[in-house]
Symmetry: C2
Subunit: 457 residues, 2 copies
Amino acid sequence: MSDDGKVMLSEKDQPQRWCNILPFLPEPIKPYLSPQTMKPATPDELRVLFPMELIKQEFSSEEYIEIPDDVLQLYRIYRPSPLVRAHRLEKALGTPARIYYKNESVSPAGSHKANTSIPQAYYNKQEGVKRLVTETGAGQWGSALSLAGALLGDMEIKVYMVRVSYQQKPYRSILMRTWGASVVPSPSDQTQSGRALLATDPNHPGSLGIAISEAVEEVATRKERDSHYALGSVLNHVLLHQTIIGEEALKQFALIGEKPDVLVGCVGGGSNFGGFVIPFAKEKLLGRRDVRILAVEPAACPTLTKGIFAFDYGDEAKLGPVAEMYTLGHDFIPSGIHAGGLRYHGDSPLISMLKKHNVIEAVAHNQLDVFEAAQLFARTEGIVVAPETAHAVKSAIEEALKAKARNERKVIAFCLSGHGNFDMAAYDDYLAGKLENHVHPEEKIAEALHRLPIVNA
Amino acid sequence: MSDDGKVMLSEKDQPQRWCNILPFLPEPIKPYLSPQTMKPATPDELRVLFPMELIKQEFSSEEYIEIPDDVLQLYRIYRPSPLVRAHRLEKALGTPARIYYKNESVSPAGSHKANTSIPQAYYNKQEGVKRLVTETGAGQWGSALSLAGALLGDMEIKVYMVRVSYQQKPYRSILMRTWGASVVPSPSDQTQSGRALLATDPNHPGSLGIAISEAVEEVATRKERDSHYALGSVLNHVLLHQTIIGEEALKQFALIGEKPDVLVGCVGGGSNFGGFVIPFAKEKLLGRRDVRILAVEPAACPTLTKGIFAFDYGDEAKLGPVAEMYTLGHDFIPSGIHAGGLRYHGDSPLISMLKKHNVIEAVAHNQLDVFEAAQLFARTEGIVVAPETAHAVKSAIEEALKAKARNERKVIAFCLSGHGNFDMAAYDDYLAGKLENHVHPEEKIAEALHRLPIVNA
């Protein structure tokens, strides 16, 4: 470790495999259901959307999965990512705790999302698929898949971007186009589900659930049959690829002889959180490690803290697989907080299972508290984080202040999932005192939960 | 070196000193003149603007200057920066040349500018100055000084931002404010020189020369006498701090046993270029190294390729020191190209001297060619570069294609001075076919050169 606490991994120490926690879960994840039949989805239903290798990974019982050489080579553009001790933040807080962050903002797309966009594009290309369709909300995932398409080469990327984000964040779609992708605002006139919504409102603002429906519909119904779908969070194979974060962090902590007492990450679908904590959670499940693991979500979309564990649809038009997870109901529309990446009604089935069995805890924060924390972080550590990441910063600070009150030398580590270079309008609102807290009324949540396809709570 | 050619320096190899080329120049740089008397500026005139330690560095005859520990610690937030082999770009060009780039976009402010903003804030704080005033055009420098102010702590930063950039790039000023700085569009009503211009045009678009005048005027006339001025380029001490780039690159090339045949950097005031090439240029001057060094500027502001070597004012209102340099005339207003950081009428006296003695060469490129190169780079290497940096990318590609035509295995290295996350509007214009080339008419340059204070060519 250097004086200032930046822990770099040398190339020879770079992890060569992803960590699969599926075989170690306290209870197996129930199979996905077909949205038409509510019976377990057949492999053929999944093969329309995904390449065989990713389907295998989705259900794998191997403890580790080797990372292909070509993927490792592309990872090295920005990996290993640094683990950094936040000395100046600690000082500002006057805490005896040691705070570390794993900096995933270093990828050219600015977040952890490239960790899975690169292998997803790679496996598709291996199976001869040269066209991928996806959705994006705030734009982190769409950017990362566009980047992966450019890096793999000879790969076409089409992105359905939630219209309200498309309009509010024009720079994100330009970034995707610079990498060669095509981007359309959703709902669009290019799909049946999009046209139906435009008929009700020509300026429909869209939602992540709607954009997923459009992308899935295009892939399933396109005459050329040349495309696959790609998802940036929620699914097991996505979290698997993200475990590169935690695998590196394990080695970095070992290098400096430090053991984190608390791990913190923000949760929307669960991919940066899962990627960071899974290698530690596995050790915890095996009784080899004692660590608190804390998932942080917005009070405006409190899936893990106020949702229920049940089967639900993943998308608005009920086209994709139905999964058992914590959910607020597939037609739950959270308020327009700036952390667009955390505005998803459901959660990764894997993270949901860890929560159900108390391997992890969850907490929800208000928007104003979260931006106050992000500003303190920017002014002490220099990095202006994404609004999503700001949730993790808030909890890390809260834990550090608790340690101060108890005079405990805790080690706190959080995942800095992305930078906020494309989210400056949110900081502008915060600095101008225009930001509001949005707590979702409990009765609206209860109402949305009544519309679940199968209630098994 | 890793398979993909990312060369990282370990902490123990991190350079601990800056490289001063002043004692090795073929001809000494003439002293700055006072704009009032046209006689050599007195130390007192400079002490109004800068702390003593920076004035000493400005005229130092030491071969190396030790970097203070506190500065080294803050450098480590993002340094050493990686030296990367651009394998995928090489493949796309089909060139036998090896192309490397030194990636300075990794700082939290997104460019090399933090390399000097941090020591400038540090030395001012050491001498008890807790308020710094500066100007910024495109915003890279203003951001970097705001970041440094936050990192040093207890330091107030005030930025005069060229009004047209302030309006076109709102995200840049929000970024500075997030770090705690105050930002005003220039010309402003806060200075005499600003008010005079607003009287002629209340929506005056401003220029870098005007913003410098306002910052210098505020520092020199402020009643409290509590502020210093900070400049992000041109001066010797600024280029000195930037030599951390080249000192690292020297070690990185030595590590992999590679010798660059051509070094490339974009030039506005000359700070990233100087910082990258000076350690190599010193070796060249001492006869220890044979290397071509190529400065790249925009055709719209062709200081080194079409200016003359003469004494000229550095700012519009003739308040700052007069320096001998390549210049297009202090009232030369270049067209509104997107590379705002390269729109300066003059050039670093140090770089000018190296050019005068043919230690370096210069070339100018058109805006469209430059963005075409940047797009190819984004789609092969993943990084969307700043419009300024795109000029260096263009020349690196040109050199690689020359090597291909001659079947030469040249080693080409360029400085990737910053990312383009805040310049997406420029890429949007390029993708939409709206970008134009702006070549400045020769007669306008000749006209501007007639207004030099002393013509000694």
